[in-house]
Symmetry: C2
Subunit: 229 residues, 2 copies
């Protein structure tokens, strides 16, 4: 496994190094390791799916995340299951963290060639609890800014009680791959004359109108960083 | 673990039976077991995140799925990793299958209370390869109809070669929970006078204009089941 430094500010190669776990057995041509592409897919998401092993069985939970350079952060209550399992004293928790965007429905003439256009990132590694106060604070800022960029500086930072109740775990971006599918269906030549419509139905994402809390004081307007989304 | 029958047509209780694995350690009030709600969350999704254990470490992969009653199906090449691991002769593969919809960004006055509105379903169980030809065909239809309802009857069904290349695995809906968060932020009373905007930014999903394949014959129009989406 590559042991690339994840220190912020350290120069990084343009791509992650493939490993046995990040080279797929099928559709290997869809796997890419470009660092900027991986970052862009991660930065576009709100929720990751975090996998870990409990009593020998897999568990996959959706959870918020944030990125600082080559480090991903997940947080939660100090009482929650995966967070408890990454205690500082132990050697860390093996995890797999996956982020997926579905971009379009691919309708082929044959049922067999139906597919999705998508972009996903899969990160394998060992998650560790973060104890350094400065790193915890910057991780929590990143988690809030993943929700809405700029929001961490327009909200009350965590106080001592909240910090004590929050576990932050870190997963370094070392063993990483992205997978993408783009373009139209790949129908077989013998199917081209079939009468079925074929193509891609794009999926779109957007934002609705912000809904202010019922107890919001009058005069507090929707901030620019929300209005501009 | 409950051993509810998943035979189609069998009367089912209105809710799944909670187990140790489906009662969360935190935010237990967000967990629900209502069968219709679970079905509706599953039916709205395109991609699940399938977790399994390989060499002692978790793997989480995005993949298409389909539902037939109380059975979920996932398919793939017979050569792909999780599919190979569910060979008919072995006792099956422990998996965790998760589907998540993110409905809104919850912006609290405090960083600590930032959250998401979401709906997710987590299914634990043992995945088995499906060998019965009829069940395989109905599973493949369900996988296509999950992409676009009605599409399986407007495409060429899989032929013998394609069926031989496709592994179908089944996961019964026995050990299942849904989690939901709705509504606005839950700010602490002492934060109510802070000057930050607070509320929910809804996330919307939609469809773009269908993009026909370049080799689509003229005269084949966008079908009603697409145009009506």
């Amino acid at each position: 496994m590559p042991e690339t430094s994840t220190q912020p500010g350290t120069a990084q190669p343009a791509a992650y190094t493939p490993t046995d776990r990040t080279v797929p057995t099928r559709a290997a041509k869809r796997a890419v390791y470009d660092r900027e592409l991986v970052h862009s897919i991660l930065d576009e998401g709100y929720v990751c799916h975090l996998g870990f092993v409990r009593d020998g069985a897999p568990v996959v939970l959706p959870t918020l995340y944030g990125r600082v350079g080559e480090r991903l952060y997940v947080h939660g209550s100090t009482g929650s299951r995966p967070l408890r399992m990454t205690g500082q004293a132990d050697p860390g928790l093996p995890v797999c963290l996956t982020v997926t965007h579905v971009d379009g429905l691919v309708l082929a003439r044959s049922a067999f060639h139906h597919s999705m256009n998508y972009r996903s990132v899969v990160v394998h590694g060992i998650a560790h609890q973060v104890t350094d106060p400065d790193e915890r604070r910057s991780a929590l800022d990143a988690l809030v800014d993943q929700v809405v960029p700029g929001r961490s500086s327009d909200s009350r930072p965590a106080n001592a009680r909240e910090l004590a109740a929050t576990a932050v775990i870190r997963l370094d971006l070392n063993e990483v791959s992205a997978k993408l599918r783009t373009g139209g269906p790949n129908d077989d030549p013998e199917d081209l004359a079939l009468p079925h419509w074929t193509g891609v139905l794009p999926l779109t994402k957007g934002y609705g109108t912000p809904v202010p809390s019922g107890d919001l004081a009058s005069g507090i307007e929707v901030p620019d960083y929300l209005a501009s989304l």
